[in-house]
Subunit: 388 residues, 2 copies
C-alpha cells in the first residue's frame, strides 16, 4: 500500500527504487533501519523486493505513464537496474524529480560505447576498444590490437555474460552482428584476476571508497568475492580507489558506483564495466564493512553524510548461491547453520532456476583459507553440488 | 498483501508476528535476509512494522476471529509483545498452530505473580515477594523484608515503568490497589546496577547465551545498554547466563528470553523481569554480535540451528532515542552522521511523542568511554536535548 505523508513521522524520506530485484530487497533491510520509506516499482506482485516492501506498485519501467505515477510523491528516485530509458529519465529530471544517479551519469552504465569513449577522454586506463559496424571492422580492430581473440559486446542491454562474445576469428563474429545492434570491440585482456572498486558519492560531492575486492567470474557471472583482494599491492589498491573516485566525480555519479577492473598480467589495472547501483561485488559489505553498500547508496541518494566503508574483519568472503537441482533452498539451512554458527545467509525470495542468483552467503574472520572454505562449502551445499 | 505459497520459492517459511511495533519492524530486517516471509498482525495500517512489511493485516490481538484469520497460513506464530490472552493462545495451540513461545511459557512473561512463584520453585535467586490483597498485607510484607520502601506491581499489563509503584509507607499503597487488579509486593533491592541476560532457545532444546549487558533505566524505561557489562566478574557473568539458560529450559521458552537482573549491593544477582521476545537490552546485537537477537529469534521459532551470539567488538553501546521537542528526527542525521561516520542509527517509523521510544543508536569500538560518548551524544542530539 501507498502511505500518505500524514501516516509517516515528520521528515520521513520516501525513496523510489525502480526495479524489484534482490538489490531493492536488500536495500529495504537498511531502509527499515534508517526510517526511510522505500517504494519499489515492481515487475510483478510477488517479485523479490515486492515480498519485502509495503509499497510496491507493479509497473513497466519502460512505460512513461507507469513511471510518472510511480515517482509522484517520492523525494528521490533511484534504481535496482540500469534499464530505464535515458529519455524517460531526462523527462523526469526536467519535471523536477530528483533522479539519482541522473541520466547524464547513468548513460555510462547503460551504454558501453559511451562509457569507453568517456573513460578514454578522462584518461582512465581501459582496454583498447572500437565501435565496429561489421565483421570487416571487427577484423581490422583485431589486427590493430595484435590479432584475435577479441571481445565483442552489445553496447546496451548485456549483463551476467549475456551480450558478450569472445571471438577467435572473423567467422565467429557473425552472432554478435546478427541482431543489428551497435557492437563494441575490445582488446581481450590477459588478466591475472578481476578486481572491483566500489565507491559511493553524494550530490554535494562527498565520496567514500570501499576496500578493493577480488571477484571470480564464471561464464560472465560473479560467483565469489574476497574483501580485501588478497596480496594486492597497497599502492595499486589506492590507485584503483582513486580511479573509481575520479570516475564517480567526472561522471557526476550519485549513489554507489562499482568499477569492475582487470588486473592485467602486464601490471595494468584496466576498467571492464561500470554499474551505478549496489553491486554483487559489494554484498560482502553487509556484514563485512561498518556501513553496507546498501546503506551508503541510500545515504548518498538522500544527500546524507556517508558512512565509514572500513572493513570489520581481516577477510570477508561472499559466495553466490546459484540455482541448481534443489528447489527447496531452506532445507539446506539445517546443515549449513549447524556446521557454521557464524555463517550469514541471504536468500532473495526467487524460485530456483538453473544458474540463477537466488542468494548469497558470507563468512568473515582472520584466516582467509578457512573463511573461503566456509563460504564455498555453504554455497555448494545450498546449491546442491555437494551433500555433506 | 497476502502471498500465496505459489508466489514464494519452495520451502519459504511464513512467520506470523502478533503486534506491529519496532520489534516486528526490526525482525523484518533479518527476515528479508533469511528469505522468511514475515506476516504482522498490525494495530493499524501504518504502524511501525506495517510500514516495513508487505503482509500486515490490521486486527486486534484480543479478537479471537482476527487472530484466527491471521494465523491461517502461517507456519509459526510469534510475538512482538506479550499481551495476547493466554486462553486464545491455548486455543490456537489446540488447533495445531505452532505458537512459539507457547502459552505455558509465555504466561511467565505475562503474569509476574506466576513468574515469581515459578522462579522460587526452581531456585532462581529473586527478590523477596508476596501476592498482596490490600494495604494491610502490603504493610505486613514490608515488615517481613525489613520495612518500607517496597515495590508494588500489577501482575499483568505493566511495562516501561507503568503499573509499578515504589512506596515509602502504607499511605502510598492505595494507588496500586485502586484498580482492583492483583498486586505483587517485592523487596526493593539495593542494587549497584541492572544487568540483562539474553538467551535464545529452540523447540528441540538448543540454546545460546549472549554476553551479559549492563542496562540503565530511568523512570522504568531502558535508556542505555553496554555490552558486555563493564567490569563484571567472569564467574558472575557465567552464573547470570546459566540462570537465564536454566529459566529458558525449565519454562520451555522458544525464541528469545530476556532476563533482567539486579546486581545487588550485597553481591546477589536477582531476577527482576522476564520477556519472551527480542528485547530492548538486545538491540546492541544488531551490529554488536555475530547473530542479532532478531535473527536468533527467527531461527529459534523456526527450529533452525542458532547463530553465534559472540560479540563482534570489545564494547558496543546502544542508547535509546526518546521523543523530545523535535518532531523531525531526520534533520538531526546530517549532524550526527557527519560527526561520526561509524554511528549506526535505527528509526522506528513512529511519530515523536515526549518520552516515546522512537529509535536507537549504536556505537562500537575498543574504548568504552569513547564509544559511550559517541552513542550518548547522537541520541541526545537527535532527541533535541543538545544542539551541537
Amino acid at each position: 500500500m501507498e502511505f500518505s505523508r500524514d501516516d509517516l513521522p515528520v521528515g520521513t524520506p520516501v525513496v523510489g527504487m525502480v526495479g524489484g530485484g534482490q538489490l531493492a530487497r536488500m536495500t529495504q533491510e537498511t531502509a527499515i533501519a534508517l526510517g526511510v520509506q522505500l517504494r519499489v516499482l515492481a515487475e510483478g506482485p510477488a517479485v523479490s523486493a515486492a515480498q519485502a516492501v509495503a509499497d510496491a506498485p507493479v509497473g513497466d519501467y519502460r512505460d512513461p505513464d507507469a513511471v510518472r505515477r510511480f515517482v509522484a510523491g517520492c523525494d528521490v528516485v533511484t534504481f535496482d537496474h540500469e534499464h530505464v530509458p535515458t529519455e524517460l529519465l531526462r523527462e523526469m529530471e526536467a519535471a523536477g524529480v530528483a533522479v539519482r544517479p541522473g541520466p547524464d551519469a547513468l548513460v555510462h552504465a547503460q551504454d558501453k560505447g559511451v562509457m569507453r569513449e568517456r573513460l578514454a577522454k578522462i584518461g582512465i586506463p581501459s582496454p583498447e576498444f572500437s565501435l565496429v559496424a561489421d565483421v570487416a571492422e571487427a577484423t581490422a580492430f583485431a589486427e590493430r590490437v595484435g590479432g584475435f581473440p577479441i571481445v565483442l559486446k552489445t553496447t546496451r542491454g548485456g549483463y551476467d555474460g549475456k551480450g558478450v562474445w569472445v571471438v577467435d576469428g572473423p567467422d565467429e563474429c557473425t552472432d554478435a552482428f546478427a541482431a543489428g545492434v551497435p557492437i563494441l570491440a575490445e582488446e581481450k585482456v590477459d588478466f591475472v584476476r578481476e578486481l572491483s572498486a566500489l565507491v559511493a558519492r553524494s550530490p554535494h560531492g562527498q565520496a567514500v571508497a570501499y576496500p578493493i575486492v577480488e571477484s571470480v567470474q564464471i561464464d560472465g557471472i560473479c560467483v565469489e568475492v574476497t574483501a580485501p583482494a588478497p596480496g594486492l599491492d597497497p599502492e595499486r589498491a589506492a590507485q584503483a580507489q582513486q580511479n573509481a573516485l575520479r570516475i564517480a566525480g567526472e561522471l557526476g555519479v550519485v549513489g554507489v558506483l562499482a568499477v569492475e577492473m582487470f588486473e592485467a598480467r602486464d601490471g595494468r589495472l584496466l576498467v571492464n564495466e561500470l554499474a551505478m547501483r549496489p553491486h554483487n561485488t559489494g554484498h560482502w559489505s553487509i556484514e563485512g564493512a561498518v556501513t553496507s553498500q546498501f546503506e551508503n547508496h541510500l545515504r548518498a541518494v538522500l544527500d546524507l553524510p556517508l558512512g565509514s566503508p572500513a572493513a570489520r574483519a581481516p577477510y570477508t568472503v561472499m559466495v553466490n548461491v546459484l540455482g541448481g537441482d534443489v528447489a527447496d533452498m531452506h532445507k539446506g539451512l539445517l546443515h549449513c547453520m549447524a556446521r557454521d554458527p557464524e555463517l550469514k545467509v541471504h536468500f532473495y525470495g526467487k524460485p530456483v532456476r538453473p544458474g540463477r542468483k537466488v542468494g548469497h552467503v558470507t563468512a568473515y574472520g582472520p584466516d582467509l583459507d578457512e573463511v573461503r572454505e566456509r563460504a564455498r562449502h555453504a554455497a555448494a551445499y545450498l546449491t546442491g553440488t555437494i551433500d555433506e
